[in-house]
């Protein structure tokens, strides 16, 4: 054992490596991304790692490897699990040979996601066992436990993390390399009765799964990470607190101030440790459930109280005693628990309530496209080319979702990965006089957009596809994808060409343009929009966060007429007002040149970097 200071996601990766993982596949998504990246960085030589093109494919790659007896981890964020649902639901019936851990990171808040869905629910729906770590150390250990359970019961299992566990850091104890488990896959052994899903097999498997989950619920009641604490609380003999996952740390931290109360920590929300829960509930009058996302623990406890006829009142999200959406915090949990336990909150900090009321209005900082981001230029070109026309700009998931911000205001819809293509077609079929555009990034194109393009061609839609190709998966921290010609194993491979795919599907108008060439970009958009059928423009220019620029422009304040067109039209964060003059912040400007092409008096220019 030695100590390392690790992020939760890094700890999960190191735990998987210590468990002898042979293959890791995933698709990037906050807050899950660093798991796979860390495995890639620190893997033993014979561990295979890939960014798959989407979560469904990752799950299938993982299934195949697990059929051979390999230990497998598949990583994704919670909405990615929706994409991988199809293979996973069936895989639960088929089962695995090698241990298979499906790492899903949920995002209470949500901080960087479209939904506040709860993978603990999903685990109940899909019947997969679920582990829910509360700290970085526990995440490290639990992933190893999860592999053991997975192999023992021949089922994929969930390791469900949340943002604060995944992105929290702690100094933790980790194994030395010589203590890592070594797993040598036996290989795939043909057996159609085992690996080919048919209704008859599914019926039999269903019986087995139900029986297994009853057995697991029993076993989990004595799992050492499900805890029952302070059974003999003097201060609050009739009250109990139930929690799980990261919220355990809120509760235990808060009880340090408020005094010990009986509490149940649920680390395996499915199958629920029923026997342990009965012990917890017995003798209590009232229980409060502190959890995030859905009231999963709360509903289980209500069910158990009913089943065993325990006279206990259960409070939580369903009773609105705990907020039913968004993230909890130490402060919100302190509020919940002082009220529930009937004690006074500790005194406040440096600011009184009056002080807070006097606070000056704080600057509002929505996330924005970086200074010099080529997406800004692409959006602006489309906006100018289509000025005055009836349009629909369907957006998608990625940095370019931020094209919605003022003053660009170029994202009319955003739903889920790849949805912009379908939405543009739906609007087109109902409103043929609207010029419909779908914007999609390069990584999203490979992950989720190709079927949508084929559908548009086949079903005769009129629409323009705009591929914002910055040669990376920028939003999640710059992962490679099929268009970049690099893999996670460090190999250089042939790039998959977006242009050739589109031409292969049958598109006749496919133009690749540099969005930083403003005039040419506007012309290209105009000619595309004028044509019928499905057309595509590929705006190609690298993400400024990977191809660093040492250029920088400046405003010549003698020429500038202070019309502020640059600020009003493109909203680049490097364009600021200082002492009532427009200036360029040289620590941010990348010299992309967009502003200089729209300034009516040519006041912006030069290359002012030393």
């Amino acid at each position: 054992m030695h100590q390392e200071f690790l992020m939760g996601n890094e700890a999960i990766a190191m735990g998987a490596i210590a468990a002898g993982v042979n293959l890791v596949a995933g698709y990037p998504g906050t807050p899950s991304t660093e798991v796979l990246e860390t495995v890639a960085k620190r893997r033993p030589q014979d561990t295979y790692v890939e960014w798959s093109i989407n979560e469904k494919t990752a799950m299938e790659v993982g299934a195949g490897a697990a059929y051979t007896g390999a230990r497998v981890m598949v990583t994704m964020k919670q909405v990615g699990l929706n994409v991988a649902t199809d293979p996973l639901m069936s895989l639960e019936y088929i089962g695995v040979k090698g241990g298979m851990v499906v790492l899903v990171a949920d995002d209470p808040g949500p901080i960087s996601s479209q939904t506040e869905q709860d993978t603990r629910h999903f685990s109940r729906f899909s019947k997969l066992p679920c582990f829910d770590p509360s700290t970085v150390q526990e995440a490290y250990e639990m992933v190893q436990d999860a592999f053991e359970y997975s192999e023992k019961y021949r089922t994929p299992v969930f390791l469900r993390s949340t943002t604060r566990v995944s992105h929290g850091y702690a100094s933790i104890d980790v194994k030395d390399e010589e203590d890592y488990k070594k797993n040598t896959p036996e290989g795939f052994i043909k057996d159609t009765k085992r690996w080919v899903i048919f209704p008859k097999l599914s019926y039999q498997a269903h019986i087995n799964i139900e029986a297994r989950n009853v057995e697991l619920a029993k076993e989990f009641s004595s799992y050492d990470k499900n805890l029952l604490l302070n059974m003999e609380s003097k201060a609050f003999p009739k009250k109990g607190i139930a929690t799980g996952g990261f919220n355990y740390t809120y509760v235990s931290e808060t009880l340090k101030t408020l005094g010990d109360a009986r509490f149940l920590k649920v680390s395996t929300p499915h199958p629920f440790p029923e026997e342990l829960a009965v012990k917890f509930l017995t003798g209590l009058d009232e229980v409060i459930c502190i959890e995030e996302l859905d009231p999963v623990i709360e509903r289980e406890l209500i069910y158990i109280a009913g089943k065993y006829q325990l006279p206990v009142k259960i409070y939580g999200k369903l009773t609105l005693d705990v907020k039913n959406s968004g993230e909890n915090s130490l402060d919100s949990v302190m509020g919940n628990l002082t009220k529930f336990l009937g004690v006074n909150p500790p005194e406040t900090g440096a600011l009184s309530e009056d002080d807070k009321a006097e606070m000056p209005e704080l600057p509002v900082r929505p996330p924005v496209l970086c200074a010099g981001c080529p997406h800004r230029a692409s959006f602006y070109a489309v906006k100018q080319a289509m000025k005055g026309k009836k349009t629909l700009f369907a957006g998608d998931i990625g940095c370019y979702t931020m094209g919605n911000a003022m003053p660009l205001d170029m994202v009319d819809t955003c739903l889920c990965m790849g949805a912009g293509l379908g939405i543009a077609q739906g609007v087109d079929h109902i409103e043929p006089d609207t010029s419909c555009f779908a914007f999609v990034g390069d990584s999203t194109f490979f992950a989720a957009a190709i079927p949508g393009v084929i559908n548009a061609v086949y079903n005769q839609a009129d629409m323009t596809l705009v591929v914002l190709d910055n040669s990376t998966t920028a939003m999640t921290g710059h992962q490679p994808h099929p268009g970049t010609g690099q893999t996670m194993m460090g190999d250089v491979v042939n790039k998959v060409s977006i242009e050739k795919i589109l031409k292969g599907i049958g598109l006749e108008f496919v133009e690749t343009v540099d969005p930083l060439d403003y005039k040419k970009s506007v012309e290209t958009v105009k000619s595309a929009a004028a044509l019928p059928g499905v057309k595509a423009i590929i705006f190609k220019s690298p993400c400024i966060a990977i191809v660093k620029s040492d250029k920088c422009l400046a405003v010549d304040n003698d020429k500038c007429i202070n019309c502020r067109k640059c600020i009003r039209e493109i909203g680049c964060p490097a364009l600021i007002i200082r002492d009532d003059k427009v200036v360029i912040d040289d620590s941010l400007c990348t010299g992309c040149g967009l502003c200089s092409q729209i300034c009516p008096v040519g006041a912006i220019g030069g290359d002012h970097h030393e």
């Binding site: 100590q3 200071f5 906050t30 807050p31 901080i111 960087s112 700290t135 970085v136 604060r164 992105h167 929290g168 850091y169 702690a170 100094s171 355990y248 740390t249 809120y250 235990s252 931290e253 915090s329 130490l330 402060d331 302190m334 500790p346 005194e347 406040t348 900090g349 440096a350 600011l351 002080d355 807070k356 006097e358 606070m359 000056p360 704080l362 600057p363 509002v364 900082r365 929505p366 996330p367 924005v368 496209l369 970086c370 940095c399 931020m402 911000a405 003022m406 003053p407 939003m475 502020r564 600020i567 009003r568 909203g571 680049c572 964060p573 364009l575 600021i576 007002i577 009532d580 620590s587």
Partner: protein
């Protein structure tokens, strides 16, 4: 003894490196560290924070309102946003340089942070304001804001770490070519925070 530290600023300002240096220094001393920070969309020019907790008896990496021993603010407005976390008698270190949000530029506002600094000075006794813009000009680099603030924080005594701890961690965590510059920034911070 545990220490609760909040670092805050605008995405891209380098709060994460500063937080890494503090945790590295604490770990060199054998003090356990837990921390939480903003990762994701907000890193693109949004408000970002790190919570850092040093000490043995810590379960949660997040800090409760009114319990931070020190706030290290990379931007005046963001420091005010985090002020409810400060405990009574806590220390504030703040850079005077404002970062104008796009929304303010669009609205034609003249946001310059001075109103924010006034509020902090009025409400908090222990405040050190560092004119990082001036310091960067004098030291000839824009990349030392985090070291200037860190230097001032160490000097205030509120971190429970000393200058030597930070120097040591710089030697191991930061590329050699920046060592001199970083040490100069520490010196500068010491002088200007007296």
């Amino acid at each position: 003894m545990s220490k609760n530290i909040v670092l805050c600023g605008v995405g891209g300002q380098g709060t994460i490196l500063a937080s890494k240096l503090i945790s590295g220094a604490a770990m060199n001393r054998g003090i356990p560290v837990k921390s939480a920070e903003t990762i994701g969309m907000a890193q693109r020019g949004g408000s970002v924070f790190s919570h850092l907790r040093l000490g043995d008896d810590v379960d949660c990496p997040m800090i409760a309102s009114g319990s931070a021993d020190i706030i290290i603010g990379f931007e005046p407005g963001e420091t005010v946003r985090m002020l409810p976390y400060l405990r009574k008698g806590g220390q504030v270190i703040v850079s005077s340089r404002p970062v104008m949000p796009v929304t303010a530029a669009l609205a034609g506002s003249n946001y310059n942070g001075s109103e924010m600094l006034d509020y902090i000075r009025k409400k908090v006794d222990k405040v050190i304001v560092i004119d990082t813009e001036k310091a960067c000009r004098e030291l000839g680099s824009a990349k030392i804001v985090n070291l200037l603030l860190l230097g001032a924080a160490v000097n205030s005594g509120a971190l429970g770490l000393d200058e030597e701890d930070i120097r040591k961690v710089i030697l191991t965590r930061i590329p050699k070519k920046f060592h001199d510059l970083n040490f100069k920034a520490l010196e500068y911070a010491k002088k200007s925070s007296l």
